[in-house]
Amino acid sequence: MDWEAQLKLQAYLDGELPEAERRRLEATLAQGGQSSLLLAELRQTREVLAGFEKGIQMPESREFFWSKIEREIRRQESPARVPAPVSWAARLRRLLVPASTVALLAIAGFLTIRNDGSSLLPGGTEMETALTDTGAFTYRDYSAGTTLVWLSYPAENEPDDDEDAVTLQ
């Protein structure tokens, strides 16, 4: 039997052969021979497999299996915590605070030191910045007896309301 004839025999068994070919093949099968034997073997294999899966059972109990599935469903359904999008105003503020600090430091430096190294500030005055808060400047004039504290608010190390916000997905 050639390869094509063998596959046709199988298609006949599976009901996938067109009507005309089916009748032709049945005529050949009626004569017996190798094709009849092969068809019997294919049919036998098909019958052996029938009902095979019915005997297979899930080895885990229903309760245990369901508990795993339920947990996974709930895990996948629980909303993910994502940071809120930062508003343009907050972004601008974050940019301006350090920029203004740098600018003020530069101005203070320019006012304090002359080209020849001597101070421009009159005696008895000083300007300082707190390292922990770069947005705060203190200006003291001992002769006038005044102290001026300049705050760039909000300070950089203070919590930003927007940063702590979360949204549900």
Binding site: Q10, E41, V48, E53, F65, W66, I69, I73, Q76
Partner: protein
């Protein structure tokens, strides 16, 4: 729907309840179909742990996609198709990491099934159902993934050739060839097991 109602309700009613978000209804559906879904995964993968994991994944996906289920097929069939697709994905992943099996090489080089002698005597006659199942199990385990999958989809899922070709992304000719090989190989393996007794 109460718990008693769940156990007495038919599948379509349970599906409707589950689509409304009733997890108890879905649990009842799981109780009814879990063996079938596991059996299909096991037939394809031949590994109990993998079959459990893939069944679990199928049920989770089933819940997530339940709103898409329109009832064109039965719920059991719909779930079975989900697990089959997951198994096929897994097989494709595994295939990338292994070399071709001997069976595949045989198929490519002309197919030994064309020359195999026909098995005339029924190799399973006189066997108890449990013993028969064991033998089939061992024989199926000796087939390559490709041949076993075609056999499972055709014999257990009752898919037509063109449906298998679509599912496995191959030609109808390949499906016919693999199915023929799988059947002939299985017959020979069962005959060998009988001789060994």
């Amino acid at each position: 729907m109460t718990e008693n109602n769940h156990s007495s309700a038919d599948d379509p009613a349970l599906v409707r309840a589950a689509q409304q978000g009733e997890m108890e209804a879905f649990e009842e559906l799981l109780g009814r179909h879990r063996d079938k879904i596991f059996a299909r995964a096991y037939s394809m993968m031949r590994n109990e742990e993998e079959a459990i994991d893939l069944s679990q994944e199928a049920w989770v996906k089933g819940w997530q996609r339940l709103r898409q289920f329109q009832g064109e097929a039965s719920f059991g069939t719909w779930m079975t198709r989900i697990v089959i697709n997951l198994c096929l994905d897994q097989i494709r992943r595994q295939k990338r990491h292994r070399t071709e099996s001997i069976e595949e090489l045989d198929e490519a080089s002309g197919g030994v099934e064309r020359q195999m002698p026909v098995v005339i005597v029924n190799p399973t006659s006189g066997l108890e159902r449990a013993e028969l199942r064991q033998r089939i199990d061992r024989a199926l385990g000796q087939l390559s993934y490709e041949h076993r999958t075609v056999l499972v989809l055709h014999e257990f899922e009752e898919m037509e050739y063109k449906e298998i070709a679509r599912t496995m992304d191959c030609s109808i000719g390949t499906v016919m060839s693999r199915l023929f090989y799988a059947r002939r190989k299985l017959a020979a393996l069962l005959a060998d097991l009988k001789k060994q007794d």
